[in-house]
Amino acid sequence: MKFSLTWLEQELETDAGPREIADELTMIGLELESLDDPADKLKDFVVGHVEDARPHPDADRLQVCRVNNGTETFEVVCGAPNARTGMKGVFAPEGSYIPGIDTVLKKTKIRGVTSNGMLLSEREVGLSDEHEGIIELGGDAVPGAPAAEALGMSDPVFDIGITPNRGDCLGVRGVARDLAAAGIGTLKPLLIEPVEGKFESPIKVHLDLDDETMSACPYFVGRYFRGVKNGPSPDWLQQKLLAIGLRPISALVDITNLLTMAYGRPLHVFDADKVHGDIHVRLSRKGEKILALDGKEYELDDEMTVIADEKEPEALGGVMGGEISGCTGETVNVFLESAYFDPIRTAATGRKLNLTSDARYRFERGIDPDFVLDGAELASRLVLDLCGGEASDIVIAGEKPDVSRSYPLRKHRVKELGGVEVSEEETVRILNVLGFNVTDNGDAWECGVPSWRHDVVGEADLVEEVARIHGFDNIPAVPLVRETNLPSPAVSLPQARRARARRALAGRGLTESVTFSFLPRKHADLFGGVPDAVNLVNPISADLDVMRPSLLPNLIDAARRNADKGFGNVSLYEVGPQFAGENPEDQATVASGVRAGLTGPRNWAGGSREVDAFDAKADVMAVFEQLGVSAGSARISTDAPAWYHPGRSGTIAFGPQQVLAHFGEIHPGILQAMDAGGPMAGFEIYLENLPRPKDGKSAMRPPLTLSAFQPVERDFAFIVDDGVAADDLAKAAQAADKKLISGVRVFDEFQGGDLEAGKKSLAIAVTLQPTQATLTDEEIEAVSGKVVANVAKHTKGVLRG
């Protein structure tokens, strides 16, 4: 919302300078966005008196002027036809910056005569495109005075951000009222002198609305003017609008804009001769069309408020007038509309039609119902003053909405909620200046809410009014004391595990990536797809249109992008959500990672190799380890999802309902479909599925029992079918004697050679840990026998000869 200092001063009696006002605006919640003083741009320029102008000795079209800047006289070469002795213009000395031609002025010799400055045109000053001649200032301009002043451009312009609750500050008067409450001056009284009607309006207004739809426009004030002349508006009005960036159009339109900007009271003027019969306020009919003042045609549904004549809609209520009945230079008879339109319906209409306007902006935030008639009267006076003619009696349809209400403000509440002591006197003063009607009831003030403050709906709002005007700066900061002496843990187990998984993976050389929760549907489909329920209705772009069913596609794509930039061997991970549906329980937190290309660079100590499933498996195991998850009893199966290499991937699970993780090489077909080079190995750890430590199992560790006897290691090699899982064989060996065997490790896998086809050799090292006495050869033999037997039983493995 823009306004100039002089405009503000028409509503507010104040001595405050623009900077002081600007700072105060921000501190009462009307945040300053910019303070633009046009005089800044013109500060180098002064009023120059052309003491003498004579033809240039060597150029027909040039003149040599002697220009007095109030203290000195300069010789200036000028090409403008209107430069002449005795005139006053805008003088730019050498060294000054000329905004219109973006040049710093230098002393130059023009056909043998030195020019020591310049007399400026409007275009050079940046006022307009006018460049026919130089600016001619009035005879009363004082040589040497700032040009900005002489040009009437010394008026600083404020631009402030208005929060959606403060529709009342979308008019200069509302801003002035807030400033007055904050102690920056006094709000000037607003005199409304009703205009006397000279005749009965030939146009009547009908609210064709029923009880249900009456809220669309419950109140309509109109007036007919005859015999007006709609020329350009006077300079003072044009200046005012220009200063805040509005284009003057004609006197009638400029009057409506003035009322909008000054009082937040949008109005509309119809060319009465183009209105057929009476005016009907009604809801639009589906398919009806209107050509709006922005020159575009809009097709309406059946829920929009229109101001129609007997034939067709002439305006979109609260949003924009129609082109057909708009006022022009030929307009003689006018019908003025000052109505109250429903914020919600107005907003919906504007949104559906994608049509914004100063009027809509105000109506959707709520205008002052008590000012509907006042606005019409103020506008009437201006119409008569600027356009002449005669006014009819006021036409009123409907009833002014009653928004009167009051709330008690308990006297201790500002302190209790706002945290600041404000004296009773000051509290009442603030509320009064803001327009509240305050009655003292002893323990509380009963505060009647002014008709323009739709945002005030309870005591907390009253506290806010007092606190914000008194100043948030004046609220003493109080430490927020902890309820316990020492802080308690801030995170839950799942939260802590996420944080720890991140750092564990980073510690293993993977770098964390944060990717979007949505992705292209074609990527989602490669990873199991997602139900229709979690498709985005309004995606930001066609390739970010569904919620992700897995973190891997985004990570694979990220690895691809890095490879495209020349960084092929990246390892990335992400800890974040994936979605199987729209319900909270369909969202799972996954720690997922991808290693691409080679394990590392070539180096003197040995080569690097391509990443494989065991890299991914190691990442999974490391996370388990760091999270204190004992997955020893979990089964590793080979049924990972289809996006993994079917023969080089695994699933770690406690059964089908509790999958802890998948790992493996990414399916080459998937990589190809995503235009990504290979190989890549990846994993997905479902953090919520990881077993929680048993309740009651505190920090206490089990007792440590150390054996006094050395462990013994024995190696075995078994020949098994190549479908036998090494893990199954190791588990069988382990189970042969749970007491004595403390560990089994597979250390070799071999196929081919003299082994028959379909067979492989698995070698294990079995550690025996005696607890009672050193093992005898016989005891070792006995255990070995049990290992061989149990392996044979579970895997049909035969001890290799």
Partner: protein
């Protein structure tokens, strides 16, 4: 006796001349071995008479000890130089690079969230969470943003296909719905922070369709705006590590708080660069306010008895300001060069107490 001296100097010369342990051993055998020269001398003792034998015995023994000692000394010297020689052989070029190891980094968003948690954790806040896909009731209505409220339009909401009993499902536009879920499930006193992903359908230089927020909520019987100021001033100063950081509270509007305040921190833009700290300018850093009584009532909390404050801030913005990250969009690009440049070492776990001083 003359012979003894001659033998001694002869043997000493041989010992000193032994170039390695083998040569020395030969000298030892030649002197002290069974057929050695010194041993041979000892054997002559038997032929002497008692008096001579005693004197000669002492002399012979002295010579034997002396030679043995010299051999031992020479042996030690020779072993040391042998090791030295071997070690010299084993020399490597230590300027070669170490065997390659992968270095991994934590993303600045995670690091910043951990930092925020570490500070509010010290103030007694615990972390709460909620789903990314929300019913519009939690995201808007319960937060006092009714349908058709202008603020609802300004949120640029993503909708998904699903609908639940007439409630539209949205990607949460802020972390505030977790306030509602928490207040519905727990009785005051409440003191939580809520880090998480948030979504708005806006994509340009300063907006990303997904970003992160941290929400905060305190509800009890006595907390007022002075506490809000105290809490957030301390946070800002601790987060940026500037004890005298100016913090300013400015009236604003959020439907779910009343009164509402935006919080600015001091900065200066002198010399082109932005510097956080005392200066002539302000930077907006978070939004806050006293919980609107209507919101408390929507959650079944008696607003006549309870009150409190809430706040919210953008994680990326905090990270950008603290670490000088210039462009929001780069956070989600996964460019390994960016991640390594702006990322954090895995053991760099934020902690107010563990933060090194000086």
């Amino acid at each position: 006796m003359q012979d003894l001296e001659a033998l001694k100097s002869e043997l000493t010369a041989a010992i000193d001349g032994a170039g390695d342990l083998d040569a020395l051993e030969a000298v030892r055998v030649a002197a002290l071995g069974r057929k050695g020269s010194v041993t041979g001398l000892m054997k002559t003792l038997g032929r002497l008479d008692a008096d001579e034998r005693k004197a000669a015995g002492q002399a012979f023994n002295a010579l034997k000890d002396e030679i043995a000692g010299a051999i031992e000394a020479r042996k030690t010297a020779l072993s040391a130089s042998g090791l030295d020689a071997r070690l010299a052989e084993e020399k490597i070029d230590v300027t070669l690079p170490v065997r390659p190891e992968r270095k991994g980094y934590v993303h600045p968003i995670s690091q910043t969230i951990d930092e925020v948690i570490s500070i509010f954790g010290e103030m007694g806040f615990t972390v709460a969470e909620g789903p990314d896909i929300e019913e519009d009731w939690y995201n808007f209505t319960a937060l006092n943003i009714p349908q058709d409220h202008p603020a609802r339009q300004e949120h640029d909401t993503f909708y998904i296909n699903a609908e639940k009993e007439g409630r539209r499902m949205v990607l949460r536009t802020h972390t505030s719905p977790v306030q509602i879920r928490t207040m519905q499930s727990r009785k005051p006193p409440i003191r939580i922070i809520v880090p998480g992903r948030t979504y708005r359908s806006d994509h340009d230089a300063t907006h990303s369709p997904m970003f992160h927020q941290v929400e905060g909520l305190v509800v009890n019987e006595t907390t007022h705006m002075g506490h809000l100021k105290g809490c957030l001033m301390e946070f800002c100063r601790a987060f940026f590590g500037i004890d005298d950081l100016p913090v300013r509270f400015r009236p604003s509007y959020f439907p779910f708080t009343e009164p509402s305040a935006e919080v600015d921190i001091g900065c200066t833009r002198e010399g082109g660069g932005l510097k956080i700290g005392a200066g002539d300018d302000w930077l907006e850093i978070l939004g806050s306010g006293m919980v609107n009584p209507a919101v408390l009532e929507n959650c079944g909390i008696d607003s006549a008895k309870y009150q409190g404050f809430a706040f919210g801030m953008g994680v990326e913005r905090l990270a950008m300001l603290k670490y000088g990250i210039p462009d929001l969009r780069t956070f989600y690009d996964s460019d390994i060069r960016w991640l390594e440049h702006f990322g954090f070492a895995p053991l760099d776990v934020p902690s107010l107490l563990g933060r090194a001083v000086g």
